[in-house]
Amino acid sequence: MTLDIRGSLTRPGGFRLSLDASLPDQGVTAVIGTSGSGKSTILRVVAGLERSENLSVQFRGRDWQNAETWIPPHQRPIAMVQQQPSLFPHLTVLGNLRAVPNATGFDDALQRFNLLSLLDRKPNELSGGQQQRVALARAYIKPADLWLLDEPLSALDALARNELAPMLAGLCRESGRPVLYVTHSLQEVLQIADHLVMLEEGRIIGSGTPEQVAGELDHPLSPLIDVGAILDCKFHRFDANHNLSELRIGDHPMWVRGDLSSPSGIIRIQIPARDVTLAKQIPEETSILNCLPAEIIDLKRTPDGSVFVELDCVGQRLRSRITELSAERMGLVQGLQVYALIKSVALDVRSI
């Protein structure tokens, strides 16, 4: 049982979307790609906002569209949140939510998205973040078997994004419904994605679990998004005096800003390859807090003069991007024991 999208769609500008994909119908599937890669178009196709005779969409064995069938968007069991909140300007927050037919979980949505104090306001009296919260609530109360999120955070300022990201993450995990989450930012979905799909110029160029994709260095998208490495760490303690959390990789400490205590105790962090420096000895008196012993597994040269150094760090993969000159000077070879220096600030962490 999956979500199958097959066929092609051509746009006047010459853009062509060509797909033959079976996406899992459970968990969070993140569709990642640069702008113009066609990632939003995929969601619009699934939602029924794009129509082409050459495209077929099938969800859990039911045809939503193909050459003969067409289920209009309002009859598809989907809920969608787009980049822009698209609230009705003449209606209050309450009015906008009431406009959803057969709504369920109304009170729960008001609580969850913190809307109780905003019910009588018109959209133009709300901030961007508040508007998007209403849009999330509107999607939340619509009966749906599939969630479609189209860059729901990208139009927001950093403050609003930080406020909404945990709400969104909680929603994705708790809804129990499959989620298709389109974004250009890996960071945004790293903590919640069970499955990643990479898109480029209208074609899927790779997919897999976050760990799998991060491991593929030759990936066409890896220079763009600098996947680096994804590490699972254990939460150890929070040092309130310094506002730092101590995580553990094996027995080695990792310091990360902020209180990251979470119910599961497991924190997934992303380390871009450019933020990992290598040293042969533990440097003394450095500002860098995190220093992990690692063994070089592989060295890969890129045409632009960089070297990606693949490291084994207490059983987990880490990747460093350095210049070819540095690699030569240090005499880096496979099997060499080194120390990976990681800038704390470069750790992309979202505690949920």
């Binding site: 406009a99 959803v100 037919p101 619509k142």
Partner: protein, 220 residues
């Protein structure tokens, strides 16, 4: 009942009835015109706009022919209701609808064309069918344009003269609206009564328009 009061009530009834029918016709028509890419839409739009450029007498002439007892419209009407159409209130309403349609349809079409596609998509994604979307979300969203269109339709019907003269004639209580009454009074050199009739028309028009514009000026 004085001539003036009778004509005033008749004018109000004509303009009110016409406006109601106009809205019923113009709302879906304007939505179609605003949204369609069909080739015929330009022709339909031109057809609707004809009364803007044609002298009312041209329209009145054709309508008179159609509404006459042997005219196609008169025959259909006679077949359905058993009554004649020319020189009746019903005939006036039909003529007024055609004559005032562009004044209602054009502001609505313009406003409808500015509906963000994203909002229509959002409604579909909420599970709202296209018909409910139009009635419950689109029309209220264009409330101002709707008020403006209704007032223009009403006011334009109150002010029509040529077409009424052509197909309505001058029957007290049936077709003698204020503009005709004024014409009569001036022809009869009864300037005292004409002053009152003209003053009433002027006042009604001014008050209606002022009230409308101040409503539209308030933030939505």
């Amino acid at each position: 009942m004085s001539d003036l009061l009778q004509s005033l009530l008749l004018t109000g009834a004509l303009a009110g009835t016409t406006t109601i029918f106009l809205l019923i016709i113009a709302l879906p028509l304007s939505w179609w015109l605003a949204r369609t890419r069909h080739r015929s839409s330009s022709f339909v739009e031109a057809l609707v706009a004809l009364p803007l450029v044609l002298p009312p007498t041209v329209l009145g002439f054709y309508l008179l022919l159609a509404m006459a007892e042997e005219g196609w419209l008169g025959q259909v009407w006679g077949f359905v209701t058993g009554a004649p159409l020319a020189f009746t209130f019903a005939g006036l309403v039909i003529a007024s609808i055609i004559y005032s349609l562009p004044f209602v349809s054009q502001p609505l079409t313009t406003s409808f064309r500015n509906t963000p596609t994203a909002l229509l998509d959002a409604a579909s994604l909420m599970g709202v069918s296209p018909t409910k979307r139009f009635v419950r979300l689109v029309i209220p969203m264009h409330g101002r344009a709707l008020v403006a269109a209704a007032v223009l339709g009403f006011a334009h019907t109150v002010g029509e003269f040529g077409i009424v003269l052509m197909i309505g004639g001058n029957i007290p209580g049936e077709t003698r609206v204020l503009s005709i009454l004024l014409f009569d009074q001036v022809e009869a050199l009864d300037y005292a009564s004409a002053h009152i009739t003209a003053g009433v028309l002027l006042t009604v028009a001014l008050v209606t328009l002022t009230a409308t514009y101040s409503t539209l000026r308030q933030p939505q």
